[in-house]
């Protein structure tokens, strides 16, 4: 199996609670525009460098962003 690829994935799912300011933003209906979805792409890129993954493409809906990654 020299060069064989490890298929089974590691899977992490994290649910966060907002601080009071973010709760107030949510109450005003603006939270969906903030939170994690407001994080800049280069910040995710730097985090994914640690994982050894690169972003290949991104699709979005009103509720969620999906990043397709290398590796």
């Amino acid at each position: 199996a020299e060069g064989a690829f490890e298929g089974p994935e590691k899977l992490l799912e994290v649910w966060f609670l907002p601080n009071a300011d973010a709760v107030h933003a949510q109450c005003k209906g603006t939270f969906a525009e903030h939170g994690l979805r407001a994080v800049r792409r280069e910040v995710w890129d730097a985090m994914l460098d640690v994982v050894r993954c690169k972003v290949l493409s991104v699709i979005r809906t009103e509720s969620v962003d999906a990043y397709l990654l290398s590796e």
Binding site: A4, F5, G7, W15, F16, L17, M47, R52, T61, L68
Partner: protein, 311 residues
């Protein structure tokens, strides 16, 4: 590999020799800067590795992964699910304590959190618009020993463009584009082989990853799509997916939140805890049920079932 980003939730799924957990401290800092300074729930899981000796820190073994997570979280529980002399599955989760978990490394003093913040967090913890859909359900199907003919679709072909063009060919050829016909799909064919798909439908997703080479072929399917019809719908989805890959062995895990379990009659609650294993087995000719395990966690029921084909 894939990443799904919601305003309050992040899902990261990576294969190969990636070092997913090393990113967790960065992830927590990013979340804190985004106004999300507490982890409400965390799930980390993986199937047993095929080539564990090739992994890097902190993935050199389950105990190393658990130690890494225990250094970050006060309240964590680690589980090994399934037969240890066959395919098995690992799970680490944090149970919400008083609706929040305190991060050792980021919020050292829980008492420093203002009472206002705590009250707001409790009030909003049950707000489905913000945090937890009432019927949150994640289904994962992990398949090995794929049928060689079925696996051929996931190879790059002579003269074919890899990347998204090849991905679209695979979507149509395999029927993966029929899982949810309304979904927005983003698929990618690697060279010389391998395939990844992210699909979005409103606030829900499904994702597929395939390694087709004989000897270590593997495919995964994961979704939080709402499946009307409960366990029967799960079994129909499993049949649809298994028909595409025709694996020699596969396991199904179902995480299901039961926000209203306490209001149901006892016998209905027990029934709701049962995984769809019998329904799946009845729908699949040739595959036998080899294992079936049910857990009840705080707010979630978890079902694990494994199947093997009588080839």
């Amino acid at each position: 590999s894939s990443m799904f980003v919601y305003p309050h939730k992040l899902i990261l799924k990576t294969c190969g020799t990636t070092t997913l957990l090393k990113a967790l401290p960065s992830m927590l800092r990013i979340a804190m800067r985004a106004g999300l300074n507490r982890v409400w729930r965390l799930f980390y899981s993986r199937k047993s590795f095929m080539f564990p000796d090739r992994q890097h820190y902190p993935h050199n073994g389950w105990q190393e992964e658990v130690s890494f997570l225990d250094d970050l979280f006060l309240e964590g529980s680690a589980y090994l699910v399934g037969k240890t002399n066959a395919d098995h599955w690992y799970l680490y989760l944090t149970a919400p304590q008083d609706n929040y978990c305190t991060l050792k490394s980021i919020v050292a003093d829980a008492s420093a959190l203002s009472e206002l913040t705590r009250i707001e967090a409790r009030r909003h913890a049950s707000d489905p618009r913000l945090l937890q859909p009432e019927d949150d359900q994640t289904v994962e199907i992990l398949m090995t020993d794929l049928d060689r003919d079925a696996a051929q679709a996931f190879y790059h072909r002579l003269g074919e463009k890899d990347g998204h063009v090849g991905g679209h060919r695979v979507d149509a050829e395999t029927g993966l584009d029929k899982i949810d016909r309304t979904a927005q799909m983003d698929s990618y064919l690697f060279s010389p082989c391998g395939y990844s798909l992210n699909a979005l439908s409103g606030e829900n997703y499904f994702t597929v990853h395939v390694t087709p080479e004989p000897g270590y072929s593997y495919a995964s399917f994961e979704t939080n799509l709402p499946l009307a019809g409960g366990d029967r719908a799960v079994s129909q989805l499993v049949r649809q997916v298994v028909d595409i890959f025709r694996p020699g062995k596969f396991s199904v895990t179902v995480f299901k939140s039961l926000e209203h379990a306490n209001t149901q009659p006892a016998e209905e609650t027990v029934a709701a805890k049962l995984p769809a294993a019998k329904d799946i087995a009845s729908q699949l000719k040739g595959w036998g049920l080899t294992d079936r395990i049910v857990y009840e966690f705080d707010g979630y029921h978890f079902g694990f079932a494994s199947f093997e084909h009588a080839r």
